[in-house]
């Protein structure tokens, strides 16, 4: 629009010049005609006398363009000078805008990089994660796929164009290069690179021949290559030792590749299952590429059909009930955080609005102070354009400065977010793709666009105010601002309403966080150190050796001073692997009707004294003791949730259970006797809707029990009499005495585990709290400023009141009452908005209604108190005036 007008104006100037030059030539010709020169000669002479018309026009056009640039530069300089003359106004505006723009730019950077940006794989929108739901079972969502189903899909799925399996969080011990280190390994099928369409930065990906031969090859992550190999370009071909197995490095992935999460150090080919060794165990996650033209809906129905068809011979198998919920990989990766991030973006948007209200207020005050000056300029002939330029250059300068400082703030904020945000961890507690967040061109563009929008908005405030010259010149200070106070009151009320909405949201997440942390985890998190030890397969080839090593470690660590008790489990509560191991539970003497599926339970193998060390509650029967492990008693202990699911209203003690699909086992699975019942511990997260059935069995060295967890890695719990972390070094030495090649991984306290599981909630809570406090602070500053200004405008009136005998207290009350009415109105609107919008943030909350009265009441009370304080300070100042001084200011 502006451009168009500019162009039209240029055209008008060109037309004017054309006309002027035409008149000039005509006059020159006529002069010669009058002297008797023939027409043709007269025209020629006139032209000759003039020189080149085209050149003149060109020259003038250049001069005009140069003048425009110069004018702009000059106006900018003048504006800058004017702004520097009022440093308080300038600093307040720039800082306010910088805070708001910085907050918006940094949260937008997170939203853009995490939610909007496609995953960094070729044609990534065609990638799907193969997830399932089990509508009739007690598992809502399954993120894993049994290897038998994998082969079924590999051979028969027409909607898929490539399928890869992977295990995200395997840990192996790297030895040979310095001290042994537990590194994170992702085992994958060789198809992963082709499915994701990624290529290594150096070397190559492993191929299927190697995988089939069982050759040990590894591809390094970029970060691991830098950290451990110092970016050695000749790393390809180098041997490394993983769990005692000599392995050859064949490639290094680019820095951007972080599948399935950024902690993976090394990818190795899964020692692969074939069709004949495939099992029903849910151990691998699967990612697939949709065939061109196939939709997710088609893939889902085909994958469901193929699962149901898999095993027709056995009527109770779990495949019958599987429903494919194949999900776009991006959605599967960031789905858990998306709503949270959008809500955070909305909340910083609110901060921006509050900030804008503040700046608008500042501009109002400034424009009123200069009202007469502007009226004077206008009377002296300054047009609308000149006045508009005058204000727009100021607001543009301020906004761009605010945007620049804001971007700098955003740069810092993003660094902090990426460094301290919960980038890794189980999906319910982290912010996925956080490592991809950075300040980029898109974010900068958004920030600049925001500043320019702000510039236009604020620059036009004074313009709409100066509609009439005469009125402004007539106005005296005492009558000037009646109607203007209305605008100011509206701005104040709006700020209060917006701040209240954020305060409520922040209060609700704070309360949720408290509720989450107050959840009884079923164990005592105080003073307990945990760590995980994995035994290299080459040194510990069979369960007997593994059990002996674990026993030796427990004995050594128990002997340390400061240690009260030690035990171990294949899987701790709130483990990153969540389910760790699970399977359908069959109960003796109970036959399942066709189509009914056995309850699915989590399975853990524990050493003696585990429940005592964890301080879990034994509800009935007994726990698992050291003697049970030594004698390999065929017993299990179940949790209360399992009793409720499988033995409702019965006493489970003495009942016998077993695992495994009898149609698949060569020998009948062994029965195990229920010896005790313990309290529930969380499996999928503190906020899981219902506790998951869990079953504990002793570590079995030689007894063949179907689905018994593998013993190659166990998590240890050390109950301490001293600060748990202080024992870490002693524990490390004790483990080294058992086997110098063993490395401790995930050394953390039970308290750490609890805190990590609330990390996503904490992340949301902290960011919302920051947004709420910034908006509260800005709002308060704005209200204070506006009230002070109103009071200063009413100084004359106050003086009259005081002179006529009003007592100072009543004057102060009058002003506070005025602010209070505005505050109440704003709070009412804010409460209504918070109430209406409550459902939007429901998914962020835990154990709190979005309309929780105590939160609504508490935040409103807090806000109103602060508002009244912000009004009372200027009021008190006004009441303390001496009538004489007050009247003199007029």
């Amino acid at each position: 629009m502006r451009d168009l007008r500019f162009w039209r104006r240029r055209n008008a100037e060109d037309d004017d010049l054309d006309r002027e030059l035409r008149v000039h030539l005509e006059l020159a010709t006529e002069e010669r005609l009058e002297a008797g020169v023939p027409l043709r000669d007269a025209q020629l002479a006139a032209r000759r006398e003039f020189g080149s018309v085209a050149l003149t026009k060109e020259e003038l056009r250049d001069m005009r363009r140069g003048a425009a640039v110069e004018r702009l530069w000059q106006e900018t300089r003048y504006a800058a000078r004017r702004l520097l003359r009022s440093p308080a106004f300038t600093a307040a505006t720039v800082l306010t805008l910088a805070l708001a723009i910085g907050a918006n730019a940094s949260i937008f950077a997170v939203v853009y990089r995490v939610v909007l940006n496609p995953l960094p794989y070729g044609d990534s929108e065609r990638l799907v994660a193969l997830e399932f739901s089990l509508p009739v079972g007690n598992v809502r969502k399954i993120y894993y796929i049994p290897s038998r189903l994998y082969f079924q899909y590999l051979e028969r799925a027409h909607t898929l164009d490539g399928l890869a399996l992977y295990v995200a969080t395997n840990e192996l011990t790297l030895t040979g290069h310095g001290s042994p280190e537990r590194i994170r390994v992702s085992r994958t099928t060789p198809s992963l690179a082709s499915v994701l369409r990624v290529t290594p930065a150096i070397g190559r990906w492993f191929d299927s021949d190697e995988a089939a031969r069982g050759a040990s090859t590894a591809v390094l992550s970029y970060g691991f290559w830098v950290r451990r190999f110092g970016q050695d370009p000749n790393v390809v071909g180098r041997p490394i030792t993983l769990d005692g197995v000599p392995t050859v490095v064949v490639g290094v992935m680019p820095a951007s590749f972080a599948f399935p999460d950024p902690r993976v150090d090394v990818w190795v080919a899964a020692p692969f299952i074939t069709r004949t060794t495939a099992t029903d165990a849910y151990t691998f996650a699967a990612v697939a590429r949709l065939r061109d033209g196939a939709t997710i809906a088609q893939a889902r129905s085909e994958l469901t059909r193929l699962a149901v068809d898999l095993d027709p011979s056995y009527p109770n198998n779990g495949y019958k009930a599987l429903v494919s919920t194949a999900t776009a990989l991006l959605e599967a990766t960031v789905g858990s955080i998306r709503v949270t991030l959008w809500i955070l973006l909305a909340s910083v948007g609110v901060v921006l609005l509050v900030a804008c209200a503040n700046v608008a207020n500042l501009f109002l005050v400034r424009s009123e102070v200069r009202q007469r000056e502007i009226a004077m300029r206008r009377a002296l002939g300054a047009g609308n354009r000149a006045i508009a330029h005058y204000f727009l250059t100021e607001s543009t300068l301020l906004s761009l400065a605010g945007g620049a400082v804001g971007l700098a703030l955003a740069w810092i904020a993003i660094k902090v977010l990426v460094a301290f945000g919960p980038a890794v961890g189980p999906w319910w507690a982290n912010v996925p793709r956080l490592h991809e967040v950075r300040l980029d061109a898109v974010v900068c563009t958004i920030a600049v666009a925001l500043s320019l929008a702000a510039a236009l908005a604020f620059g036009s405030i004074p313009l709409v105010r100066f509609t009439s010259v005469v009125e402004s010149l007539h106005e005296s200070r005492s009558t000037a601002s009646r109607s203007r106070h209305r605008t100011r009151h509206l701005l104040m009320a709006g700020q209060i309403a917006l701040a209240l909405v954020l305060l409520v949201a922040s209060g609700l997440t704070l309360r949720s966080f408290q509720r989450l942390r107050a959840v009884d985890p079923g164990f005592d998190a105080a003073s307990a150190l945990t760590f995980r030890i994995g035994l290299p397969r080459i040194d510990y080839p069979e369960p007997g050796r593994m059990a002996a090593a674990h026993r030796a470690i427990i004995d050594r660590v128990s002997a340390l001073s400061g240690v009260a008790a030690v035990s171990a489990s294949t899987c701790l509560p709130l483990s990153e692997q969540q389910l760790c191991q699970g399977g359908p539970l069959f109960i003796e003497g109970r036959s399942l009707p066709p189509g009914v599926i056995a309850p699915f339970v989590a399975i853990r193998a524990v050493d003696g004294g585990y429940f005592e060390t964890m301080r879990m509650r034994v509800i009935s029967g007994r726990g698992i003791e050291r003697g049970d492990v030594e004698r390999e008693e065929p017993i299990v202990v179940v949790n209360q949730a399992l009793v409720n699911a499988a033995f409702p209203g019965q006493d489970p003690i003495g009942k016998r259970v077993r695992f495994g699909n009898p149609s698949l086992s060569r020998t009948a699975p062994e029965w195990l006797t229920v010896a005790g019942v313990v309290g529930n511990t969380p499996t999928f997260g503190l906020a899981e809707p219902a506790p998951f059935p869990q079953l504990y069995m002793p570590i079995f060295r030689s007894r063949r029990v179907n689905m018994a967890p593998r013993l190659d890695a166990m998590s240890y719990v050390v109950r301490t009499k001293v600060a748990p972390q202080s024992l870490a070094d002693a524990v490390r030495r004790a483990v080294g005495e058992v086997d110098a090649n063993l490395a401790l991984a995930q050394v953390q306290t039970l308290q750490d585990i609890l805190e990590r599981s609330a990390a996503q909630m904490a992340f949301t809570m902290v960011l919302l709290a920051i947004a709420a406090s910034v908006s509260l602070l800005l709002g308060i500053v704005g209200i204070y400023g506006a009230m002070s200004y109103i009071v200063s405008q009413r100084t004359g009136e106050i003086g009259i009141r005081l002179a006529l005998g009003a007592n100072p207290g009543s004057v102060a009350r009058m002003i506070v009452r005025q602010g209070g009415v505005v505050g109440l109105a704003g709070a009412a609107v804010g409460l209504a908005a918070a109430f209406a919008g409550g459902r939007l943030i429901q998914s962020l909350l835990y154990g709190v209604s979005p309309h929780e009265p105590s939160v609504l009441a508490g935040t409103t009370a807090l806000l109103l108190t602060v508002v009244l304080l912000a009004c009372w300070l200027p009021a008190r100042r006004a009441a303390r005036l001496s009538p004489l001084d007050a009247l003199r200011t007029e």
């Binding site: 002027e20 000039h24 020159a28 002069e31 003039f50 018309v53 003149t56 001069m63």
Partner: protein, 115 residues
């Protein structure tokens, strides 16, 4: 009319501006009239390239020394763009004039020292 050597001399920088201002001192004129005025009063010695007059006029206008408006020409049935000296322009002219006087005197002293 053959041009004499003197007319070929480039006007010193800023001199044209001064001449234009001087031409406008006794009343508004349009571009052609300014050019002919300078030519005539200098007895045809100073011949302004009419094309170069307009950039000068534009320059003077942006500096606020002259204003311009379309006005009907007396005893002709048409309008021309008339240029008019502003108060600032008058001040500028007298400043330029005294500067020029000093310069001319100085050059005169150098070229024709008192015998």
């Amino acid at each position: 009319m053959p041009r004499t050597a003197t007319t070929r001399v480039e006007l010193l920088q800023g001199t044209l501006d001064m001449l234009v201002l001087r031409a406008l001192l006794f009343g508004p004129l349009h571009g052609h009239a300014i050019a002919t005025h300078i030519q005539r009063t200098s007895e045809d010695v100073l011949r302004v390239d009419h094309g170069s007059l307009y950039p000068a006029l534009y320059r003077l206008k942006t500096r606020g020394w002259i204003t311009a408006s379309w006005e009907p020409m007396p005893d002709r049935n048409r309008e021309a763009k008339y240029y008019r000296l502003t108060a600032a322009g008058k001040r500028r002219l007298s400043a330029e004039h005294s500067k020029w006087r000093q310069l001319a005197r100085a050059i005169g002293l150098v070229m024709e020292p008192a015998r």
